[in-house]
Symmetry: C2
Subunit: 198 residues, 2 copies
Amino acid sequence: MDFAQYFKGDSNAESDGLRELLEQVKTIRVLKGQVLQHSGDNQKHAYFVKRGLLRSFTTDDKGKQHIYMFAPEGWIISDIQSTAMQQPAVLTIDALEDSEVEVIRADIFEELVNKHMGSHPDFASLELHRLLRRLAVLQKRVLLLLSASATERYQEFVATYPNLQQRVSQRQIASYLGITPEALSRLRVEILKAERRT
Amino acid sequence: MDFAQYFKGDSNAESDGLRELLEQVKTIRVLKGQVLQHSGDNQKHAYFVKRGLLRSFTTDDKGKQHIYMFAPEGWIISDIQSTAMQQPAVLTIDALEDSEVEVIRADIFEELVNKHMGSHPDFASLELHRLLRRLAVLQKRVLLLLSASATERYQEFVATYPNLQQRVSQRQIASYLGITPEALSRLRVEILKAERRT
């Protein structure tokens, strides 16, 4: 899948203007470890992952990294706090694998959405639902961080990112879950034991 | 401010259809302690607070409450996870003060938005920005819970909810911040000391 397919979804949004804007979306190749956006940067892009794996994270006062999200194939990753609030990036975005990525400038995205909301009601409704679902996912993430046990957080990670356990390190999963690598290791042993019992 | 004013914002959205839908928004009075939505409920409403103070929270396995958000005057509170994902409510919503509240049915809200996105581009753009800002606020909340110290979380609470410190208990603030009441009490002493020094 590419960004144009993702963006249009099942809607029939199609016009010269749309094509023109979508042509401004560039595909780039990035190597494992390459940084696409540094925290503090002023450039504002969203990245659509065609192949590979990106990640966003923040670094605290003590230099510890906290992973905000992973973006495997078909996902979009950006720094909404920075684009919506017009402030410097708070997240660093880098590649965990060699990847092929479409770069969407924030202003292009807004123009795309604004232009096609008016003329294509089904597209407006699609976009609205996408945003509401994203809000729902974030509400869930906040509630998990506030109130869920390490085990529940881990199970939710597996449900959100099937097959990602093999592609990222235990340390990175722990950083995403907001628990220590030791706690993650303990709970994986517990889960394995429980699985063997059944 | 009421919901109609909030909804239309600076846009010139105005039509018979809009008025008709807004007429279905009912104002109710709720008493302190009254529950508007129980976790597990299937009713899906958003509540616009005209006067008073609402709160949403989840209860964990051990019976401990975790506050997702407060909604003072002019705020909207709902359970987006439940409305967007069509699942039973995960949050309980209750009143922390005697309040006057407008009740907006989720289907009415979607109809309002869908109907007026097409015909009023400025409204579509307003609504889009509102959703993006809400996403930004939630990203910030996740990052605070993942990586910020108790002091930073408290400072963000004060910035988000000016004047609310007087209206909610220390226990409730701690529950919102994801820290113990003891940790909150210690950090407030530290902040007071630091203020006295300057």
